[in-house]
Amino acid sequence: MARLKTGTRLRSAVCSTQVMIVAAPDAEVELTCGGHALIDAAATPGEDLALSPDAAKGTTLGKRYVSPDGKLELLCLKAGQGTLALAGAPLALKEAKPLPSSD
């Protein structure tokens, strides 16, 4: 369980997935990827951990992942094999509504 801070970068302990917290609920949450808690981007994962087979649907670079209530939102900075989940429930891919280019 951890309290998440907007703008911080986390990595999966069992795959190459990296995410940035775009929005976070004001509470302690259990955020996992590949069945294991996400760790600080600079931290080294424990060697004895393995990707959980039922949490291996993968992440896609540049996509947003959200919790059902929308309070937690992540941006995938690096793709990997694990599934992002909040308290065991997989996060959903957020569909982006395309905007006209304004720059």
Partner: protein, 500 residues
């Protein structure tokens, strides 16, 4: 959060693609990343607190922008049209700085206070063939990404503070990662010291849209480069679009068939110019983007569908939307408030307030101007129509108060511009003993047309209240604009006063 994160993602997603081109030189996303890392080392070793640049659009601009983010030093693009005296005052405010300069300016800038000057070519030479460094930037969204000196149309330049979280939020909220097709190219002609120039780099990198830089704008160079580089996207300010359309019209049936998306902003677009542009470039879609430096660029857009619907509708309310700046981005809220700070109903005029993650509303040394609920007062007047389209009246500070009646110059200018003999005009308030302020207008005649003062006064009187009829009208060969298309009303006013 850090701008470097956007470039890092582009490297992971499509690193070998061309990111930015300037003439015969180009960088892929991987090369831009490696160059930024090398330049960041130089910046960190210099002991300087700011990374400034005084240059036209060149490869050094994106390299220094990302290097600054990497090294944790604010990036400060300076206006190359400023005099040495003006630059000296700005240099003092950012000392000590590493100043990247166009080679022809480097020698004369060496005397600037607190600035270590490196010419652009030396900087770029030191980054060619660089090996990509391991990411080592801070993910502190509160760090300052960019300091932009505002154009100072209302006094001494203020330094708008844009933090990493503002600009990153803007990009994440308005651009889809890797959303551009491999054939897409954005032609960037706005100068680097304009917020649109910064937004063009960050948005294009995140979208994966190749940037082609035009060192400085001229209509000839713009059209020639758009053709040669097969530009598909471009952002222009209204004066640029007017000159581009003039040029294309002078070339007979010339068009730009590859160009499919033109966005414009940075000042009020005359209805006649956008209508001519839509006719001349039927393959292109048009997007009007409204934003301020203090809001990290765009906060509202009038998209291609809105343009088409407005141009082809028989409903006057829908047609009128071509004169609006569209609707707020999904990540931004807009409210109109009266002078007492209360929200007004649709159709009622007031001041435009904006709220969102991308809104900085902060100036160096003056702190944030955002209120406790997160709202920023834009100092732009305007109203929202029933469907949520935002219409702008102009700057609140430009409002003319005549005998207790508030009038916005824009409304009177629109009426004058509708006259066939009027090519351009500026309406300002001048001191008046009887009324406090009186309405005055500077008018540029369309070539080969003539009209006298009385006829123009009658034209306005027939269409607006008589109190809004310019008491004084002078004719000018041209009006003063800054290089990004902003009308310099203070100068119009000063010249009128000098003559009276």
């Amino acid at each position: 959060m850090n701008l470097m994160m956007l470039l890092e993602m582009a490297v992971s997603g499509f690193g070998e693609r061309e990111a930015v081109r300037s003439g015969s030189e180009a960088l892929t996303y991987e090369q831009l990343f490696a160059a930024a890392g090398a330049a960041a080392e130089r910046l960190a070793a210099s002991g300087c607190e700011h990374a400034a640049i005084l240059d036209v659009n060149s490869l050094a601009v994106p390299v220094t922008l990302f290097a600054s983010a990497w090294a944790g030093r604010p990036f400060v693009p300076l206006n190359y049209r400023l005099t040495d005296g003006e630059l000296s005052a700005l240099a003092e405010r950012i000392a000590p700085s590493l100043l990247i300069a166009a080679p022809e300016r480097a020698a004369s800038l060496a005397a600037l206070p607190g600035a270590s000057v490196v010419d652009r070519e030396t900087l770029l030479a030191g980054t060619r063939g660089a090996v990509a460094r391991e990411p080592s930037w801070a993910m502190e969204g509160d760090d300052i990404a960019i300091l932009l000196f505002t154009s100072g149309t209302t006094g001494a330049p203020k330094a708008a503070v844009i933090r990493h979280r503002h600009l990153v939020s803007y990009v994440l909220g308005s651009v889809e990662f890797g959303g551009a097709g491999e054939d897409e190219t954005a032609l960037v002609s706005v100068p680097p010291y304009h917020i649109a120039g910064m937004a063009a780099i960050t948005s294009s990198v995140y979208a994966g849209r190749r940037i082609v830089q035009l060192p400085a704008f001229s209509a000839d160079a713009w059209v020639e480069t758009a053709r040669r580089e097969r530009a598909t996207h471009a952002f222009v300010v209204p004066t640029m679009l007017a000159r581009i359309v003039d040029l294309l019209e002078s070339q007979g049936d010339a068009t730009l068939p590859e160009l499919r998306a033109i966005s414009y902003g940075g000042g009020k677009m005359p209805l006649a110019v956008i209508e001519r542009a839509m006719k001349r470039l039927p393959e292109a879609s048009f997007t009007n983007a409204y934003g301020l430096t203090e809001t990290s660029s765009t906060i509202a857009v009038l998209g291609p569908d809105d343009h088409r619907a407005a141009a082809s509708s028989s409903d006057p309310a829908v047609r009128q939307r071509l004169a609006s700046v569209g609707r707020p981005l999904p990540s931004v809220e807009v409210e109109i408030r009266d002078a007492r700070g209360r929200c007004v109903a649709a159709g009622e005029h007031g001041e435009v307030f904006v709220r969102g993650e991308q809104v900085s509303g902060e100036y160096l040394g003056r702190g944030s101007t955002i209120d406790a609920e997160g709202w920023f007062a834009t100092r732009d007047g305007g109203f929202l129509d029933a469907a949520g389209y935002l219409f702008l009246d102009g700057r609140i500070d430009d409002v003319i108060v005549r005998g207790g009646e508030n009038m916005s110059p824009g409304e009177i200018e629109e009426v004058l511009l509708a006259h066939e003999a009027v090519a351009d005009c500026a309406v300002v308030g001048i001191p008046d003993e009887q009324w406090g302020e009186a309405v005055a207008a500077a008018v540029v005649l369309a070539s080969g047309r003539e009209v006298n003062v009385e006829a123009l006064q009658q034209w306005v009187r027939d269409r607006l209240r008589s109190s809004r009829t310019p008491q004084r009208i002078v004719f000018r060969a041209e009006l003063p604009y800054n290089e990004t298309g902003k009308l310099l009303r203070r100068r119009v006013k000063a010249e009128l006063l000098e003559e009276s």
